[in-house]
């Protein structure tokens, strides 16, 4: 018996759920969504399952494998767009094979098994409601090992460690390998997915804590979905990146948005920092004399690849030298290069207010390039962030960045530093120096 599973493609209303993995792989009460469906189909008698994936099919394939875990044969087929069940039937259901009876023969996985009345992905609130509704069912599936109901409505998974002083209020779900600290209050309506860590004194109610998520000490999560450092309020339909790891963060390593700067580049930055230290000392002393901090912190929106969800809070802090003239102000950013936050060449950092003023997708390309000490705009003498030309340079760099362009920018920046004129306007500098001798010869 055969069946088709259609993986949901991108869903605009729940974009944060698909930030790190496709929606088909979304952890739902300990198992991925597709795993629940494969188990459901196996119980229905399916022997072969055809999985149609639009979004990141390779990740779906790595989770599904060949389906042997469920005693079935599963194969993942990439599709260019999300098919409807009718379209999938028309394309894949061949007459010569036996298929499960409709509607189980072709299923779009935007709800949990046997719960079509609770859509998963129409909004964050619907996701929360669907999981809460399915909670009792999740504990009774045949392949569930180790989950036990410690008291009515409270399920605790395998190897979970709940401190004696923690309070668990029904209904709540504690996944496998979860730690709950002293004095924490979990529930009602709380779901802690596998490998999450809840510090002492935290309060979590009507909320979902995603897998591998750290919840800081004495924090309060209400009406929220926490996925790493992404915090979604399903009641307000708002989302934010929590910048402080001690409040909320992911326990898995963050994948960098861009290739990290070469080790040699960091070494050169360190050497440059030391060599130019004497030049930076005087502005620091002068700032201290006037009672100002020597290094002034600045907040920059963290650059991200075009495909990732853009949300407030994804920032990093860098520094400027207080009161220093010109490019010397950027001296502390050499340390940012050593740390890997900056590159030698990139787009200049934007604070959240400036980033919010980028008006269209072309201008927002500014944020899709690494942060740099020197930018193309610098090399062309465009210092003002909000000139049209500056934004155009930044967007051009984001689309054309390569090592030749980077070296060209460095060379132009040096030319600008020495001559005071951008390289593109060098004729204005050269002409006055060569014109007069020609005129003299012509006159005679």
């Amino acid at each position: 018996m055969k069946a088709i599973l259609i993986c949901p493609a991108a869903r605009e209303h729940v974009a944060a759920l698909a930030e790190s993995a496709p929606l088909a792989n979304l952890p739902v009460l300990g198992h991925g969504l597709i795993e629940h469906w494969l188990e459901h189909l196996a119980l229905k008698g399916a022997k072969e399952v055809c999985v149609l994936a639009t979004d990141r099919p390779e990740q779906v394939r790595s989770l599904v494998g060949d389906g042997a875990r469920w005693g079935i044969r599963a194969e993942v087929f990439p599709e260019t767009r999300e098919l409807t069940p009718a379209e999938a039937r028309a394309k894949y259901c061949t007459v010569d094979s036996a298929w499960l009876a409709a509607p189980d023969d072709a299923i779009l996985m935007d709800y949990l098994p046997d719960a079509p009345e609770n859509p998963l992905f129409t909004s964050y609130a619907s996701t929360f409601k669907a999981l809460q509704h399915w909670l009792p069912h999740a504990a009774t599936t045949p392949d569930r090992i180790g989950i036990h109901e410690t008291k009515p409505g409270v399920w605790v998974g395998l190897r979970a460690r709940v401190s004696p002083g923690a309070e668990l209020r029904a209904p709540c779900w504690i996944g496998s390998n979860v730690f709950v600290g002293e004095g924490a209050t979990i529930g009602p309506g709380a779901i802690l997915e596998d490998n999450s860590f809840v510090e002492n004194g935290a309060e979590i109610s009507y909320a979902i804590v995603g897998a591998d998520t750290f919840v800081g000490e004495c924090t309060e999560l209400r009406h929220s979905i926490a996925l790493g450092n992404t915090l979604v309020n399903w009641e307000m339909d708002s989302m934010v990146k929590v910048p402080e790891d001690f409040l909320l963060c992911s326990l898995t390593r963050r994948e960098p948005a861009f290739q990290s700067i070469h080790f040699l580049g960091r070494v050169v930055a360190m050497l440059a920092l030391l060599v130019t230290l004497p030049a930076a000392v005087w502005p620091m002393l002068r700032a201290k004399f006037y009672g100002l901090p020597a290094l002034r912190p600045r907040v920059a929106v963290r650059p991200h690849a075009v495909s990732t969800v853009n949300m407030p809070g994804d920032t990093l802090v860098y520094h400027e030298l207080t009161g220093a003239p010109g490019w010397l102000r950027r001296w502390p950013q050499l340390w940012s290069i050593v740390r890997g936050d900056f590159a030698w060449v990139g787009n200049r950092p934007l604070n959240p207010n400036q980033a919010a003023r980028l008006t269209n997708d072309f201008e927002r390309l500014w944020l899709s390039a690494p942060l740099g000490l020197i930018s193309l705009s610098d090399a062309e003498g465009c210092a003002d962030c909000f000139k049209v030309q500056t934004r155009a340079h930044a967007s051009y760099y984001a689309t054309q960045a390569n090592w030749r362009l980077d070296w060209g920018i460095i060379a132009r920046a040096i030319f600008l530093l020495l001559s005071g004129i951008p390289y593109s306007r060098r004729d204005e500098w050269l002409m006055p120096h060569f014109k007069r001798p020609v005129e003299f010869r012509t006159a005679h």
Binding site: S224, M239, P243, L247, P293, P297, G313, V317, P352
Partner: protein
């Protein structure tokens, strides 16, 4: 006292923020209102600045408490404030005018001001 036109509350201005407010006349001050409507996000520095302001305006013995209201925070800012439990020490007036604990803001309700 009302603080308007606050553009950011982050590492960039967190150090100076409490000092700028406390330079004003504080004797007899009962309420401080801070308009957060133009702030897009707040980080740990910003939370620390708010906490420092609270400590600066409220004496340890609890005499002459000063109520600090955070007006109309944008939803992402409100999320971070609630995550850090700032709504237990500040009154947060969301954009719909209702206090987070369900009490209507005195300026919004048509009647006598509510008190907690």
């Amino acid at each position: 006292m009302s603080v308007q036109d606050l553009q950011e509350l982050s590492a960039a201005n967190a150090r100076s923020f409490p000092g700028e407010i406390c330079t004003s006349e504080l004797a007899g001050l009962k309420h401080v209102e801070i308009d957060l409507s133009k702030i897009h996000f707040v980080d740990g520095y910003g939370l620390g600045a708010l906490a420092a302001l609270y400590v600066a305006l409220n004496k340890p013995d609890g005499s002459s408490p000063v109520v600090i209201r955070l007006l109309h925070p944008q939803p992402p800012v409100q999320q971070v404030l609630e995550l850090a439990r700032m709504h237990h020490i500040f009154e947060i007036i969301p954009r719909n005018g209702v206090l987070t604990e369900g009490w209507p803001h005195p300026d919004v309700a048509n009647g006598t001001p509510e008190s907690k």
